[in-house]
Every structure is written in C-alpha cells, then in structure tokens.
C-alpha cells in the first residue's frame, strides 16, 4: 500500500506542477516579452533598454463602466497608442486615426467586437463557441459607429445614414418591428446588431433573400450592392444595449443643419411659415425659440395635442436628437431660408397638404410601402394569392368605398387564394387597429384618395 500511496502522491505533485506551469505561461506573457524586446531595440539609451526589458508581465485592462465592458485587448495589442509601432507586426501595430475615440475612453470591443475579458487569442477574437460577438471583418467595423451615433449623419459613414433612410422608406417596418413599431411578419430587428456574428450573411440576404434563407417570405427588393451594404451597416448598429451618458450624449448634440434637413423632409412649411414666408395654417416659427423654452418646444414636437388640445399638427414620431435638431434649426431659421426651401419644393402648396402629408408619413412610417410599393404600384410577389402579387392601391377607389378601405386597414385582410390545395399566400394584410389610431387610418385613406383624384385629373 505505501508504494501506491507514494506513487499517487508523486503523480499528484506532477499534476499540480503541470497546472501551475499551465497557469503561469499564458501566451500574452510571450507577446509582452516580444513587445518589450521590440521596444528595447528602438531605445538608444542602454538604461532605457534595460528598463524596457525588465518590465514585468501584467494584464492591461480598460474598465468602461459606461459601456459595461472590460477590455483587456491591450494586454497583447501593446502598440495601439504608440506611433512608433506603425509598421510593427500584429499584435503590436499602432492604430491610426483613433482620436477622439481613444482606447482609454472607448476600449476596443465596442467598435471591433470580440471578447474584451479574454486574455488568449481565440477567446479574445471571439471566434469560439458561445461568444456572440466575434471580431468584425474589416469592411464592417465602421457599422459600429451607429451604436452610439444613432441619429443624424455620422461623418465618414454615409452607409449608416443611407441604410437608415432605406429602412424607413422601403417599408421594412411593414413586416419588421424596430423599437416597438412595425409589423410582425418578419423578425423583430431591435436587437439585430446585438450579436454581430454574420455580417456577410446579412449582406447576401439583402441582395437575394432566398439565396441564404430559402423559406423566407421576404421579397427581393433588387437592392444594389451599395444599398445592401448600407442596410447591413444599419442592421449591425441596431442594439438596445445601454451606452453610458458619455457615449450616448453624442446623439444629443443638436445640429441645425440636420434640423433643416428634417424641416424639409417632414414638410413643416406646408403648414408653418417663417417670418410670413410659407403657409399660414400653423403659427409663424420666426423667433419661436425666444417665446418658448426648449423643453416646451420639445414636448410640442412629441405630441402637439398634449400641449394644445385640438391641435391639427400631427405627431411625427421624432427621436430625441431629431427634435433637438429641429429646435436648433428654428433658432437660426430666417425668412430667406424659408424662401429657399419653398423654391426647392417640387409641387406648390395646397391647403389639404398637411393632412395628406401626415397620411403619407404614416404610409411610409408604418411600412405600407414594403408590400404596396413606393408608388403604390403593388407588385411584390405573393404566391397563390389572386393575381400572384400584392395589389396596387392606385385604383382602390374603383373597387372600394373609402369606408371599406378604412375597415380593411383596421381589421386586416387575408388575400383570397387561387388554389386551395396549395399553401396559403405568405403575405397578408395585418390588422392595424392596435397600432394606428382611427385618425391615423383616416389620414392614410385621405392620402390614398388624394392620389386617386390626381389620377382622374390626368
């Protein structure tokens, strides 16, 4: 027995030593030694050389409480903020053009993805099972800007603005929910960027949905390569992850030029005027920022009816930054600028424009265009429905009364099938009464009828 005991004790000792050896020789220590040797090479002074070589191995980490992250990437990537390392081999290479997004304030993973807590390459780069955010391929890293810069233009990333614009104008919300608004035929996209795992998949999906997801009812929108890339960027930026005030406040810097863009886009001048230039349905906006507090104006833009019961101004569902930007624009708006805006409008103003504009807003905001088309032409394939595609709305008044159309919007409609033996058509008109108020629905009907009349006139 004693011989067994001693043999096993010896084995135990060896195992303990093996564990200690395993724990004391992580690869990051090798990297640090290599880096310090590299540093020492560049030092002319022999004292500094010795000091560089004698630097003890230590884990570097950036605690990012605001981002709820701890990034230890700089344990190996020791040269990110050292310009002399700009030609060094990875993992030591200098990261150019970082300011103002310094590693000390932003870490690495918020933009690059990967696993900040890890201290070995495979885990840190996140290409391991059970990690949802592997390193983003180079082409997609800039999509991460949209995680903090959620609104307005991001300098150097036009893809994000374009992606957002496409999302809001191509009717994606007809099938997809984003932040609680939208249809439920497709998946909710609110957290689409939470795991940035498959950017290439997303891009191929936008080019040809059926190529990567054969059973998907998503129609092929025939996006160009650039549009697919833009939408992919936008998707990768979508997350409800909380960013600390320092990071999210970037969205709250009001920009008058963005406000002007919105002022034009939302057609405010259809009702309002600036110093008498524009329509007279709504109040003059010149000097409005001096008459009211910023908070009051903000509330007015959130829900006009709450501030002025009975106000005919529609609620525009503007994001915080958008509202601030509009207020910022109002502070600087001049009658001359209003004249410029008026002159650039394609069509002249009519009194009903405001209501119709609101209906048009609803029509694109709630995603009707996703199936019925930007020009209401319909035509999205819907196999086994009568006609085989989503109906055009251009001739709605020929087949329905306005009341019937309102009922269909309220309650939804399953398209009649062509062949009962085949599977039901994948697309159907959802019921909107829980999403849209009666007033919103009426406005959409008004908008549709406004187009019918125009057609009659031709």
């Amino acid at each position: 027995m004693p011989q067994f005991f001693f043999a096993l004790s010896l084995i135990g000792l060896v195992l303990i030593l093996a564990a200690v050896w395993q724990a004391s020789t992580p690869t990051w220590k090798t990297y640090q030694r290599d880096f310090h040797q590299l540093e020492a090479q560049g030092e002319p002074n022999s004292l500094a050389k010795a000091a560089a070589l004698a630097t003890p191995p230590v884990i570097h980490q950036v605690l990012l409480t605001g981002l709820q992250r701890v990034d230890r990437c700089t344990t190996c990537h020791l040269g990110v903020d050292d310009p002399t390392m700009k030609n060094a081999a990875q993992p030591f290479r200098f990261h150019p053009n970082l300011a103002p997004h310094t590693p000390a304030k932003f870490g690495c993973t918020i933009c690059h993805g990967g696993q900040g807590l890890a201290t070995d390459k495979a885990n840190a780069h996140g290409r391991v099972p059970f990690w949802q955010e592997p390193l983003l391929p180079k082409d997609y890293i800039r999509a991460s800007c949209g995680r903090c810069h959620k609104e307005g233009e991001v300098p150097g990333v036009p893809e994000l603005t374009e992606g957002r614009r496409l999302f809001e104008t191509q009717g994606c919300r007809g099938c997809h929910k984003l932040n609680g608004v939208g249809g439920s035929i497709g998946p909710d996209l609110t957290e689409e960027g939470a795991s940035r795992r498959f950017p290439e998949w997303l891009e191929r999906h936008f080019l040809t949905p059926s190529a990567v997801s054969p059973s998907s009812p998503m129609p092929n929108f025939n996006f160009t390569k650039e549009q697919a890339r833009a939408l992919t960027y936008y998707m990768l930026s979508l997350t409800s992850e909380e960013m600390g005030t320092y990071y999210s406040s970037v969205r709250l810097i009001p920009s008058a030029s963005y406000g002007r863009e919105l002022f034009v886009e939302k057609n405010c001048i259809a009702c309002h005027n600036i110093g008498g230039v524009g329509a007279k349905n709504g109040p003059d906006l010149l000097g409005v920022t001096k008459q009211h507090s910023t908070g009051w104006l903000d509330e007015q833009l959130v829900n006009p009816e709450l501030v002025y019961p009975g106000s005919i101004m529609p609620a525009y569902d503007l994001a915080t930054n958008a509202r601030k930007a509009i207020v910022a624009y109002m502070a600087s708006a001049t009658p001359d600028d209003a004249q410029l805006i008026l002159s650039q409008r394609a069509k002249p103003l009519t009194p009903q424009d405001a209501a119709i504009e609101a209906g048009k807003q609803n029509f694109s905001r709630f995603g009707c265009v996703g199936c019925h088309g930007l020009q209401l032409q319909g035509g999205v394939p819907n196999p086994n429905s009568q006609g085989g595609e989503v109906p055009s709305l251009l001739h709605a008044s020929d087949d329905y009364t306005k009341e019937e159309v309102i009922t269909i919007i309220r309650n939804g409609k399953v398209p009649p099938t062509e062949n009962t033996a085949k599977p039901a058509p994948p697309l159907y008109m959802p019921s909107w009464k829980s999403v849209l108020s009666d007033e919103d629905i009426n406005r959409i009907a008004d908008y549709l009828w406004s187009l019918q009349k125009k057609k009659d006139g031709w």
Binding site: M1, P2, F4, F5, L8, S9, I11, G12, L15, I16, A18, A19, V20, Q22, A23, S24, I59, V70, R72, L117, A118, T119, D120, N123, P129, F130, W131, Q132
Partner: protein
C-alpha cells in the same frame, strides 16, 4: 526533559507506533481518527468489497469544499457580475480555470460516486438490520448531493445555467397543490432571476453544505455504531448469516448478552451494561481476522484519497468546465435541457408532466427510503435475494437509459434524434 520533547509529547500523547498500544492510542486519542475503530476486519479492507466508494464520495466532497471556498473569493452572486466573475476566473485568476474545472468535475463525480455507493450497499444487502436507518440517511445524502449540484449549476449565470435551472424548477412545479408555491419560494419570483441567483448561492454555499456535514456525521457515526462495515457477502456462511442478522431483532433473543465474561466483544457499551446489543458483534474467532487500523486501513484510505484527487486533477488539466454566453431570458435554446442527472426526469416529464414529474420520482424516492423495511428477507447472500437484486438492477438500468436518452437522443422540440445529428443554431 527538553522543552521540544515536552512540546511534542504534550501534543502526541501516545505510546510509540511500534507497540500495539501505540497503534490503538493513535486512533482513539485523536479526534480526527477516532471515527475509525482501533482494529478493523481484514476482509473489509478488500477493494472489491466496497470499492472505497463511500470514501471516494467523501473525498470528492472535501475537494468540493476546498475548491468551492477558493472560488467564493472571486464570485459575486448578482447578475450579471456573476458571469463576469466566472469569465475572470477563466481568463485572469491564477489557476482559476483549474479550480473551476476541479469544482465542476468533482461535483459531477460526486453525483456518480454517491449513486455507485448506493448500488454497492444494495447489492451487498448492507442496508439490512441493524443498518436500516443508515440507508435512509444515505438516501437523504444522495438527495442533498443532487441539491448541491443543482444549486451550483445556476451560479455561472450563463445560458446553460439559466435554462437548466428554468427547466429543472419547472419540473418541480408540476407537483399538485404546492408545486407552484415551492418553485416561487425557491426562485424568489416567478422566473429565474437575480433573486433566484442569490437564493441558490446561499443554499449552495451555506445551507446545503451544512445539512451535508450534519448528515455525513450521523452517517459515519452510524457506520461505527452499527458494528462497522458490513461483512463481505462472500464471508457469510449460510447459517452464520442467519445468526448475524437476527442479533438485536426484537423477537429474537440475543445469542449472548454482553457481560464481562462474554466470549463476544462489542464496540459500544464497554462491557459494563448488560442487555441486548443492537449492533453486530464480533466473536473471538473473528477477532483473529482483525488488524490494526494503523497502518493498513489508513494507508488504503490515503491511497483512495490520492487516487480521487489525482483523478480529478488530471481531468481538470485537460477538460474545461463549460461556460456559455451570458444568461438571456429572451433567448431560449432549443432544446433547453436540465442538468444531466435530471434528464431522466425531464424525459419522463416529456411523456406526462404529472406522472413523470411528480408521481414516479416521488414514488421512487419513497421506495428507496423504504427499501430496508420492505425487504424483510434477513439473508444478505445474493443467492437468497435474487428478486431484490433484479428489481434494483431494473431501477438502475431504467434510470441510466432515461438519462442517456434525455442527454444524447433528444433534439429541438424534444424530438428523438441521433446523437451525432448536427443541430443548427447549437454550438
């Protein structure tokens, strides 16, 4: 006398170990060793009698306490820091992964070794008079082991933990009348959340280990008081077996009352009280077969200890404990599985919630507890108890088959799949 010698002798107050007196004093003057008898039966030391499963279980528990306390230094039981702490153990704590691996694998090992220990005790009929109650204690120890493993399962706060506990506690909620309330009491809410994490933590590091220690003390005490380990079955001659098991039976007179001139010796009453002994006695012939615990028993136990420790260390060097992504209540894995030792239960539940989740397991536990009282056959020889052994074998096989099916053959939607089927979406 020099002070060093004085100090030594004040600590070790026994005769030299070369003498028989010294060997006995080593045992009964030492608080840690006196749970052993000074002398043990030679045949009880044989590996193939007990396979040292009880010891292995106990040693695994010691490993778990040691590594568990070390892990506690690095762990905060709140979400989501708990997950980050486990990640830190994995990535920055010196020997952290090794510690966590040892804790994880020793925990799984303990569930297995307790079960094997129970099988050994059953097949040797060692739960019979006078050891019936110790068998019941053993069943409770088995349940506490499962409880410890289950509560520990949640602590890493990853997807695996979150959903295993969600499924596991859902199984419990099928109990009629009290099921829902019990689940709420355990979780501190209607679903697994921060409250549940704290409760499981407290149960895991304080309550259940406390219960475990207390029950283990009773279990060990009873082993001694019931006359030491049961004799190996192969030592039992037919008529001897008869005689032995009738000792202390209320209806049977004691073959020899304990008296000073008795040929028999007892371990309990120190030959000053007369009356029936309630434990197995050792006759003079058997006395010949005994040997001093030191060194024979102690070395063997030490070998079992070292084998257990090195085994767990070797496994921990090469296999990492699982850690999936952060717990996400919004993202249910398909299939969501309970910890492996409850997969037999989950398999039963998939066929009938009430029957499989409540009736069958409750009856199984009750049956296990009642085994010594249902099995009135006094003989411990396998030839005399074929039906008992067959019934128990069926119980074991059914358990193992259900767990294997639940673990390897169940895919998305709990559909039957081959174990090698690739499940898309799973890692």
């Amino acid at each position: 006398m020099n002070p060093i010698q004085d100090l030594w002798q004040s600590i070790v107050r026994r005769d030299p170990l070369s003498t028989d007196k010294g060997k006995s004093e080593l045992v009964f003057l030492n608080v840690w060793l006196h749970i052993h008898p000074a002398k043990v039966k030679r045949e009880n030391l044989k590996l193939k009698h007990t396979w040292y499963l009880g010891f292995i279980t106990f040693f695994l528990f010691l490993i778990l306490v040691t590594t568990g306390v070390a892990l506690m230094f690095y762990y905060r039981p709140n979400a989501p820091q708990a997950y980050q702490d486990v990640k830190d153990l994995q990535f920055v704590v010196f020997l952290g992964p090794f510690l966590r691996n040892m804790h994880r694998w020793a925990a799984h090992g303990m569930v297995i070794s307790v079960f094997f220990h129970m099988c050994r005790v059953f097949y040797t009929g060692s739960y019979k008079r006078p050891r019936q109650f110790n068998w019941m204690i053993g069943v409770f120890l088995f349940l506490v082991t499962l409880g410890l493993s289950f509560t520990g399962y949640l602590l890493p706060w990853d997807q695996l933990a979150f959903w295993a506990i969600t499924v596991g506690t859902n199984i419990g909620s099928y109990a009629p009348l009290v099921g829902k309330q019990l689940r709420e009491l355990l979780l501190g809410g209607h679903s697994v959340g921060e409250a549940a994490l704290l409760r499981f933590y407290v149960l895991h590091v304080a309550v259940l280990p406390g219960v475990m220690v207390l029950l283990t003390m009773v279990h060990f005490w009873r082993v001694r008081k019931d006359g030491g380990l049961s004799r190996p079955v192969w030592k039992l001659e037919p008529e001897k077996a008869e005689k032995l098991v009738t000792i202390g039976a209320p209806e049977a007179p004691a073959p020899l009352s304990v008296a000073l001139a008795s040929k028999d010796k007892t371990y309990g009453l120190m030959e000053v009280v007369t009356g029936k002994p309630i434990f197995e006695t050792v006759t003079a012939e058997e006395e010949e077969d005994t040997t001093f615990s030191y060194p024979y028993a102690f070395f063997r136990e030490a070998v079992a200890l070292m084998a257990t420790v090195t085994g767990v260390m070797a496994i921990s060097l090469f296999w990492n404990a699982p850690l999936e992504e952060l717990a996400n209540p919004a993202k249910t894995p398909n299939p969501a599985k309970a910890p492996w030792y409850f997969l037999g239960l989950q398999e039963l539940v998939s066929h009938s919630a009430l029957l499989g989740g409540v009736v069958v397991p409750a009856l199984a536990v009750l049956a296990l507890l009642a085994v010594p009282y249902l099995d009135t056959n006094p003989s411990r020889r396998p030839a005399d108890r074929k039906w008992a052994n067959r019934a128990f074998t069926i119980f074991v096989v059914v358990n193992v088959v259900l767990i294997v099916v639940g673990t390897f053959f169940r895919g998305p939607g709990w559909a039957l799949v081959a174990p090698w089927t690739h499940i898309s979406g799973a890692e």
